[in-house]
């Protein structure tokens, strides 16, 4: 069916299994066969899980939801790269036509002190939520807004803000970074709001609070390797990190200590 050129693959999977956050994990090897190249990577996992259930073994836990690359839930580190061998996509958008018959695929969870493993390939990314809650917003109560067209925003600024706002919060940047730094994620939100007139009022306070929360969560420090940008499924640019550095320095220089 479909495009009609689907072939069948036999693969060896080495998957990280870990009962819970406290348990010690290890790799488990599974053979899967008859995998159509039209399948998505997660559908291949569905097949494997069906097989495991059939054999009376517990299926592999992995995060996933929308399966169309926008919710940011899926998070597999595949053959040494977050979201697998193709750039610009999430795990759920990765299709098996990117693999060859007989391949061995190693699948691991995101690794970061700030993203503790919950089970198997599932990690806890609530650190991201706490960073946003620390200041990643414009303080405007419902009903306080004026007419939308009263705020003129140059198309270039709106587009640049949108590009930064396209972040799906999947955490691939942290997973890819050799230092497990969250700078790309944090800077995307800081940039979005720094680029727009609506974000100006709280601009300084925002960057100070968000960076401080980021540091508190235990992410590593940015060393500008650019791995985050290269692996980001939404192509969030390193320019955002530079912008945040600038914003942070500016805010530090001009904010009196309370």
């Amino acid at each position: 069916m479909g495009s009609g050129n689907g072939q069948m693959l036999n693969l060896t999977l080495k998957v990280w299994r870990q009962k819970n956050g406290k348990a010690k994990g290890s790799f488990e090897t599974h053979q899967v066969s008859g995998i159509s190249t039209d399948m998505s990577f997660l559908e291949m996992f569905d097949v494997l899980n069906e097989k495991l259930i059939h054999e009376g073994k517990e299926p592999i836990a992995f995060d996933h939801d929308c399966r169309e690359g926008i919710c940011g839930m899926c998070s597999m580190y595949i053959n040494g790269r977050p979201h697998g061998p193709k750039g610009g996509i999430t795990t759920c958008q990765l299709h098996m036509r990117s693999f060859k018959n007989g391949d061995t695929i190693i699948v691991e969870p995101w690794r970061s002190a700030a993203f503790p493993v919950i089970k198997d390939l599932v990690v806890d990314r609530s650190a991201f939520d706490r960073i946003i809650a620390s200041g990643g917003y414009v303080s405007v109560n419902t009903g306080n807004a004026k007419d939308a067209n009263n705020i003129l925003i140059p198309k270039t600024a709106a587009d640049a803000a949108f590009d930064a706002a396209a972040c799906i919060g999947c955490g691939a940047c942290v997973a890819a970074c050799k230092n497990a730094s969250a700078m790309l994620f944090v800077s995307a939100k800081v940039s979005q709001l720094a680029l727009l007139p609506q974000g100006q009022v709280e601009r300084k306070e925002r960057v100070l609070k968000m960076v401080s929360q980021m540091d508190e969560e235990g992410f590593g420090n940015c060393t500008n390797t650019g791995a985050c940008e290269a692996e980001c499924p939404k192509g969030i640019s390193l320019e955002n990190i530079a912008r945040m550095n600038r914003e942070f320095l500016g805010a530090e220089l001009t904010t009196a200590k309370k």
Binding site: D38, A61, H64, G69, S126, G136, Y137, V138, I168
Partner: protein, 673 residues
């Protein structure tokens, strides 16, 4: 026909255009000090839940938010692509509140409440203002003003958008407002928690039982009101554009606790989705309706034409939507477009290996854009290739992410060959029955957004789901919840002296314990069955029954068969399902078991509702009721009502009807010709 006495829609008196304004100014209020002692539970963190929770917390209520995802930001509203409608008339093309109201009622095939829809149209503009103020980067023109696009079922440009990620941007706006309240401590956030029951005391909603999905622990949570913002139930079809986790469980548990279910059979099948590629398929991916602005839909004129699309000459193509509906062409509403695609494929004109697809072709408009672009850039006598390349760049800017998504999934390049598309389950207009205040038939229990049945009738227009979710959360519930909570204030002060009052006992009330042990019982039952078949396999089989017999076209025989088959499947499920692992740990298979168990009950009700509605309207197409041209044939004399189903027992419901009165719109045959 008169409405059932059990259903009071509480629609305010007065002229339509003044109802909401007047009502809003006269509803009882809760004073700030009392708000601080009132607790509101919000289940679901999408557009409706996120916006409601943030706004209620801003107002001073104590709010608890629950979502099954790992973060509030991942609710499925995030996947909405095309846009959000608002009657701003920024394009000066004759839009108005009335026109949006009219289009929505007509689009819904005259099966929605006038008062609710008018209110929706009234607040639509405020939503855009609010979102822009939050920093949502909606698309702009070069002059800095907001940009609009067209959507199906309308002839004005009123759709605001952020590339093909409008839902994402709006949700992140609501999520940021919610996060702000979480940061302030006014909202307590419970991610990776699933609501497994509503707790009612003396017939009123008093809280929920939720499972901590990480530890497996069952928790009791008290609330003076419970808001279900849990989305739609399209996943009853197994394959749909919904997220894998989208489910009916919260709404269904509420239904079993006394909330009537409205119009369960009203399902939206979206016309432009990527076709199924094989048995392994786990979900379907939507290609935004906005693509129909520039894509032309066609099939070959000849049956079983196996030529490649680009080899089929213009005169041998059938642009069937443009042929059948010249006024709206490719922009007819979703139900009409879906049925037309099904008709062509069933008649043997389908394309692709499965023959269950039609083409969505951008070539003509790519060339048109290319020519304009060549003029803009001052290129005289451009070559065909130049025009094509320039046009592609324009198309890429408008729909780049959608084209990429298509290519990822199919491996084909839509800039070169037409997309293959086929309808897929997308949205459910049906949901928990609510009154004008968005309250279900259980006092204190509310349903917002897609989880309720209220605003879209039998078919939802594109870009209206985002509008409704945010309208309910930002601008409706904050006012209407006061109607109920002000009575709670009175009750609380009357019961102040009582030592065993609800407010003192809270989750220690025996009803909480009872609900908890029921939930526990179900979980234990799953593990005790120790059957042979996976949860997934049951879900797949249910989906097939639903799609074949309660899908795009329905008939009496099929629906009756479906009911029998679903009952048998349900019985088999409870005898032979295999759930592995442990209750006290992270266990996605167990979560899914609970959801599928509820789908197995809902599916039957959907078929029953479809069977009882002996007419065709919107997304509900009964083959017995069609015009000679194959269009849906409504029966306004007998079916201009909301079917509100009351749960009696599993497999046993009582139908209550709410009559729909059309006082401002002349009910007419819906035509897009």
């Amino acid at each position: 026909m008169a409405s059932s006495p059990k259903l009071d829609a509480k629609i305010p008196e007065g002229p339509l255009a003044e109802k909401w304004t007047k009502y809003r100014s006269t509803v009882p209020l809760v004073n700030p000090a009392n708000k601080r002692s009132l607790e509101v539970i919000v289940v679901g963190s999408g557009l409706a839940g996120g916006s409601a929770a943030a706004t209620l917390a801003e107002m001073g209520y104590k709010v608890k938010v629950f979502c099954f995802q790992d973060s509030a930001r991942r609710a499925h509203s995030i996947a909405a692509q095309g846009g959000i409608n608002a009657a701003k008339n920024y394009q000066n093309d004759g839009d108005s509140t009335y026109r949006l109201f009219y289009d929505t009622i007509k689009g819904g095939d005259y099966r929605a409440r006038e008062a609710n829809v008018h209110r929706l149209a009234e607040v639509s503009g405020n939503i855009i203002d609010q979102c822009v103020a939050q920093g949502v980067p909606l698309a702009r023109e070069y002059g800095g003003l907001l940009s609009n696009r067209s959507f199906g079922g309308t002839q004005v440009q009123r759709t605001f958008y952020a590339a093909g990620q409008t839902g994402q941007q709006l949700l992140l706006g609501a999520y940021s407002a919610l996060s702000r309240q979480v940061g302030y401590g006014s909202v307590e956030m419970f991610a990776r928690h699933e609501m497994l029951d509503v707790v009612t005391i003396d017939g009123r909603a008093r809280g929920i039982i939720a499972r901590n999905l990480v530890t497996g622990e069952l928790e009791k949570h008290f609330g003076h009101a419970v808001l279900l913002c849990t989305g739609g139930y399209g996943n009853v079809f197994y394959l749909s554009t919904n997220a894998m986790g989208s489910n009916v469980t919260a709404a269904w548990k509420a239904h079993k606790k006394g909330a009537f279910f409205g119009n369960p059979c009203f399902t939206q099948i979206h016309p432009t989705c990527i076709p199924v590629s094989g048995d392994h398929q786990s979900k379907l991916t939507l290609m935004s309706e906005s693509l129909r602005n520039d894509g032309r839909i066609w099939v070959p004129l000849k049956k079983d034409d196996n030529r490649k699309p680009n080899e089929i000459p213009e005169e041998e193509r059938d642009y069937y939507l443009e042929r059948r509906y010249p006024a709206f062409g490719n922009l007819v509403p979703r139900d009409v477009a879906s049925r037309a695609a099904k008709e062509r494929c069933d008649a043997g004109y389908g394309v692709g290996a499965s023959k269950m697809a039609v083409y969505l072709d951008f070539a003509a408009n790519t060339d048109r854009y290319g020519k304009t672009e060549a003029n803009k850039q001052g290129i005289h006598n451009p070559t065909k290739e130049q025009i094509r390349e320039l046009g592609k760049a324009v198309v890429k800017e408008k729909y780049g992410n959608l084209f990429d998504m298509y290519q990822q999934i199919t491996g084909e390049n839509p800039y070169e060959v037409p997309m293959r598309i086929y309808p897929a389950v997308h949205y459910t207009m049906g949901g928990l029955w609510v009154d004008y205040n968005l309250m279900t038939t259980v006092p204190g229990l509310y349903a917002l957004g897609e989880a309720n049945f209220s605003d879209h009738g039998a078919n939802r227009l594109g870009a209206s789901a985002l509008m409704q979710g945010l309208a309910d959360g930002y601008f409706v519930i904050p006012y209407t919840i006061g109607v109920y909570l002000s009575t709670e204030v009175t009750r609380m002060s009357a019961e102040k002296a009582k030592s065993d009052s609800i407010d003192k006992l809270k989750t220690n009330h025996p009803e909480f314990e009872k609900a908890l042990s029921e939930v526990k019982g179900q979980i234990e039952k799953f593990f005790s069955i120790k059957g042979t078949k996976s949860v997934e396999s049951f879900h797949k089989r249910l989906g097939k029954i639903m799609w074949d017999k309660c899908g795009m076209a329905r008939n009496r025989k099929g629906l009756e068969e479906a009911i029998t088959e679903i009952r048998a499947l349900r019985e088999e499920f409870w005898k032979d399902v295999r759930v592995l692992g442990d209750a006290n740990e992270f266990n996605p298979d167990l979560e899914k078991a609970g959801r599928v168990a509820d789908f197995l009950e809902l599916g039957e009700l959907m078929c029953l509702d479809a069977l009882k509605r002996e007419e065709s309207c919107g997304g509900h197409f009964r083959e017995e009721h069609q015009t000679e041209e194959g269009e849906a044939k409504r029966d306004d004399d007998n079916f201009a009502y909301v079917a509100a189903w009351e749960f009696k027992n599993v497999g046993d419901w009582e139908l209550n009807k709410e009559e729909l009165k059309f006082e401002n719109i002349k009910i007419a045959q819906r035509s897009y010709k």
